[in-house]
């Protein structure tokens, strides 16, 4: 692929950077909508990431909704059995970790798990297939794994972050939220001369806890992004090897199945853990 002529990329470096380039659209300074000249423009949209992400989300929705519509307590079909295994697995994970009562967390975990799994799974589509097809219909860039786009992973982790704050306030009140940020891990002194030190202690706690709080969504999204991006990059590098790519690709794909599932599971599990910590009154 690397030696392809014409409009295609020329060198290995070109090939790699071509594969890592999102299909972007943005409003240029002249007020026109332009494609692929959006570097650094915060109002740009990665059309390919958005498309595949929404497409796979819809796939999840339709697949599970079709089962939910036909579902009955009787003898399940094969798809229903599969869907029920996934649902039961997620339900078990949520019940093991989250002890409060919430109608949101389990569906949230299910959506995240299946959706991220689907998005990660796009990594197993050989790296050139869809980009080549899209080049044939005139679309220059096509990055098919949404989770290798940091915007996608941050988009999800920010929603989780908002939910963490929402749950903290819901279960502990605004005071509880502020107290959590300021009264841990060092309890400020409440009497005597120590009172002078209290503001410093609070400030110290606040810095520490804010970092801890902010680290949650950042680590959540960067973990997923890093794993998938690295996996994708290795697939691209393997694709540069000519004939040797076949066994290597197979080996890495087999290994990657593990990463795909594991990362989806970790994202789901950490979301549940963060939310259950937020809802736990004892903390």
């Amino acid at each position: 692929m690397a030696s392809e002529g014409g409009h295609g990329p020329q060198t290995s470096g070109d090939y790699i950077s071509h594969h890592l380039q999102n299909l972007q659209v943005c409003k240029s300074e002249t007020g026109e909508w332009v494609w692929n000249h959006c570097a650094g423009n915060p109002m740009a949209i990665n059309v390919d990431s958005m498309f595949w992400s929404v497409f796979l989300g819809l796939l999840f929705i339709f697949m599970f909704r079709s089962v939910a519509k036909k579902t009955s307590a009787g003898k399940p079909g094969k798809l229903q059995a599969f869907v029920e295994i996934v649902v039961d697995f997620v339900d078990g994970s949520v019940k093991d970790t989250f002890h409060g009562k919430s109608n949101l967390i389990a569906p949230l975990a299910l959506t995240l798990f299946v959706w991220i799994f689907f998005m990660n799974l796009m990594d197993l589509v050989p790296v050139d297939w869809i980009p080549l097809l899209s080049t044939l219909v005139g679309i220059e860039y096509m990055k098919v794994v949404p989770t290798t786009d940091v915007n996608i992973t941050f988009g999800m982790s920010i929603a989780v972050f908002i939910l963490i704050i929402f749950y903290t306030i819901k279960f502990k009140g605004v005071g509880g939220f502020i107290g959590e940020l300021t009264l841990h891990p060092i309890a400020p002194p409440t009497k005597g001369l120590g009172l002078i030190a209290a503001p410093f202690v609070i400030a110290f706690n606040f810095i520490l806890e804010s970092v801890a709080l902010l680290a949650k969504p950042v680590s959540l999204s960067l973990r997923l992004f890093g794993n998938m991006f690295a996996g994708e990059l290795i697939f691209i590098l393997i694709a540069l090897l000519g004939l040797w790519q076949l066994p290597l690709h197979f080996g890495w794909a087999v290994f990657h199945v593990l990463i795909v599932t594991l990362q989806a599971f970790i994202f789901m599990m950490l979301t549940i853990v963060y939310l259950s910590l937020a809802a736990d009154r004892r903390n």
Binding site: C26, G57, F64, G74, P107, T111, I152, G155, M156
Partner: protein, 156 residues
């Protein structure tokens, strides 16, 4: 690699998907699962109950068969006893009948004997008279010795 509007787009997409999942996917599937779990638990309990019932029924059936066997044996015994009784009764009846007939026959025989004896007596006396007549014809007159002859016949 830049952060851009895609982030907001993804957040919105996620909210929509999660909302949809929460409203239309999770509840029916989980309901079905829980319902089935209940049904399976009920089915298992019912199976266990059925097993218990079966064991009980088997014991009951055995008891009934035992009873029937005992009854049959007792009926058989009774029948045997009755048969023996009937046979014994028949025997004793026979014996009695035989004795009755025997006595009747004996009485008849006796009668016949007596009759024969009577006849014989008459005949013997007649023969005796005849022979005596013949002997005495020459010596004695009938009329003279009539009373003696009558006495003789009576004595015989």
């Amino acid at each position: 690699m830049d952060i851009n509007l895609t982030l907001i787009g993804q957040t919105i997409a996620m909210i929509v998907f999660v909302w949809f999942c929460m409203k239309f996917i999770w509840p029916p599937i989980l309901n079905a699962i829980e319902e089935r779990q209940e049904q399976i638990a009920e089915g298992l309990a019912a199976a266990e109950k059925g097993q218990d019932k079966l064991v009980k029924a088997q014991a009951e059936a055995e008891e009934i068969v035992d009873d029937a066997r005992k009854q049959a044996t007792s009926i058989l015994d009774q029948a045997h006893a009755r048969a023996n009784e009937i046979v014994a009764e028949g025997k004793s009846d026979g014996v009695r009948e035989r004795e009755r007939q025997l006595t009747a026959a004996k009485a008849e025989i006796e009668q016949e004997i007596n009759k024969a004896r009577e006849e014989l007596r008459g005949q013997v006396s007649a023969i005796a008279v005849a022979s005596a007549e013949k002997i005495l014809k020459r010596e004695i007159d009938d009329k003279a010795h009539e009373d003696i002859l009558g006495k003789l016949a009576q004595e015989l």
